[in-house]
Symmetry: none
Subunit: 192 residues, 4 copies
Amino acid sequence: MDQNTNKKILILESALELIRENGFHGCPISQVAKQASVAAGSVYTYFESKDEMILELHRYVKSEVLKEISEKDHPEKNFEARFFDFWNNLTSLYQERAAFQSFLEQFTSSPYNTETMQLESDPWGEWTEAFFKEGIESGQLRPLNPKILSMMVMGSAISLIRFKTYFKTKTASTAQDLHLIPKMVWDGIKFQ
Amino acid sequence: MDQNTNKKILILESALELIRENGFHGCPISQVAKQASVAAGSVYTYFESKDEMILELHRYVKSEVLKEISEKDHPEKNFEARFFDFWNNLTSLYQERAAFQSFLEQFTSSPYNTETMQLESDPWGEWTEAFFKEGIESGQLRPLNPKILSMMVMGSAISLIRFKTYFKTKTASTAQDLHLIPKMVWDGIKFQ
Amino acid sequence: MDQNTNKKILILESALELIRENGFHGCPISQVAKQASVAAGSVYTYFESKDEMILELHRYVKSEVLKEISEKDHPEKNFEARFFDFWNNLTSLYQERAAFQSFLEQFTSSPYNTETMQLESDPWGEWTEAFFKEGIESGQLRPLNPKILSMMVMGSAISLIRFKTYFKTKTASTAQDLHLIPKMVWDGIKFQ
Amino acid sequence: MDQNTNKKILILESALELIRENGFHGCPISQVAKQASVAAGSVYTYFESKDEMILELHRYVKSEVLKEISEKDHPEKNFEARFFDFWNNLTSLYQERAAFQSFLEQFTSSPYNTETMQLESDPWGEWTEAFFKEGIESGQLRPLNPKILSMMVMGSAISLIRFKTYFKTKTASTAQDLHLIPKMVWDGIKFQ
DNA sequence: AATGAATGAGCTTTCATTCAT
DNA sequence: GATGAATGAAAGCTCATTCAT
């Protein structure tokens, strides 16, 4: 990773953190720059505009998620085991790097997420689609559109993360229940 | 509904529509006022600040959802039937009033959704929690924390809506698959 | 003249003065506003953008010039007398209100003066064209395109003003020569 | 012309072109450098500051005009012939190198044209003054301050150029009228 | 209560200039 | 000499909020 990439990523990570804390509203370029220890104007050396920076951040986050999840997948295992790995790795990642999940949610439900944007190549989306397709083709998942399966699973995972984040400080009493969730999801999508 | 309430709601609906179209960024008070056919200053007759208006909008949307869903629930039916009614009514409502779902999503993942805010009374949250509690107590749902059940179901419903919105113009080929989703969700949460 | 018009004109006059002193470069909105005793943002109550303000200023200056010159024209006089009135009134006006002439020159040779802009209605241009047309039709001016006559005369008048401004503090020795200029110009354009 | 001079002139010509197209506003150093195929910082090897570059450009343009016009003057001819040569050469030059005329106009009516600047030696100004002085001394021009004669003639020439540029695409119908202009100007300044 | 002109802090962005390489 | 990334002051503009009418 050369010097240039380093600084670009410093800026992206700075924006990511600010967006997690304060939303898109709360990440003026001045703050992004300050937190990345560069001058405000320097952001424009790396990005054409703030909008372009946000889009780049979206690509960055998705590629980081893809890297992490695909690395830890073992295609030689049977699909049920791979599914529980996937689930655990994804929820762990979203907990460790809460800003990833927070940013993706905010981005998805924001006007940055235009139709044009959705036409961009999306390696993470393709990877998950391929993953669930393998589950179907091996006869272990219901024969549905893999996009739908993917979206259902991701929606549940995000709900779980949100729940954990939300009740973190409140109660541990429901902890054992949360372990059941991947099983519930599996029961919903498995071939039966 | 008196004159005052009328105007307040006109303003809220104007904000709702703008937020759906352009996100929080794209709803300056000046626009909200213009679309509601009032003067900018008048918004401050009804709301202390823009933030307060957004919070009020949040309460308004939730109460509208509660009204619609609870009205169409028939507690005398068996729970499985009630569940499918719930699912269908919710997804229909979110499709008819897309701004409701869009706003709730944006709100939830925004910094408006503070800890303090989450301590507010939340009739819609209480209603759904009670709904799933009845399902558990009647032995038809897994004996989990009803908050978790609720969140899982809502997450799936929202994923479905998003999917429909996203693929509206693209393909109808997956239409039959979508009918299976409530069944899948039910298979995930039912007592077994 | 109502209150609104007053403030709009205050802002225009403030911009006019700054442009005379410092050119387009030297009239940031902040300065324009300060000199007009309004807040920076208020400028945008009256003008959509800085560019629009400059274009409006152009219309304003031209209309002021037209008002002044046409008021003092006496169509019942013979054309030669009217010509010398025109010359004297124009050079007097440009000396009294040096910013008018300075602005018009800067505007004309600036990129504000686009092709599109030149399609706008231009009462001052039309008035001068009609003026010289009458001179031609009464047989007192060379039968040329009145636009050309107009442009030649204006060019000379502006050269004279520039000369006077430039040598104001330097020498009065050429004063008597300057009186001859309108005669020279007349000799150039009169029918002979 | 050595390598250094070459690069300096490349930069000046680049600035000249940008100013013609976009005015002083539209010639950031970054663009000037790019169009001259040098790095932004390199401009500062040749010029102390942007202002200094503009002033140098002014000197450059004037010296080019002087070179062109003085080369084509034939002092052995009688003055009337020399005048028409002068007129034709000047208007041709300004048409061929439109950026010269555009720059000089913008410069003259800009705040770069300070009093201090006007005290600089000005070979082109001196040449034209001397030229008209010869016309006076030979008894062929009105005995006026040659500075005035010069300014009148130049003002008319510029008006003509502007007229031609402006109506280039619009009509050729006035073409024959334009031939009469140098005659008109001559009639205005000749001894009578 | 209702208005909308006025405010000014704060935003994104540009650009002349510097300086380590 | 030449480079171009980095700087940061200053530009144009937006918008939540106020207040005289």
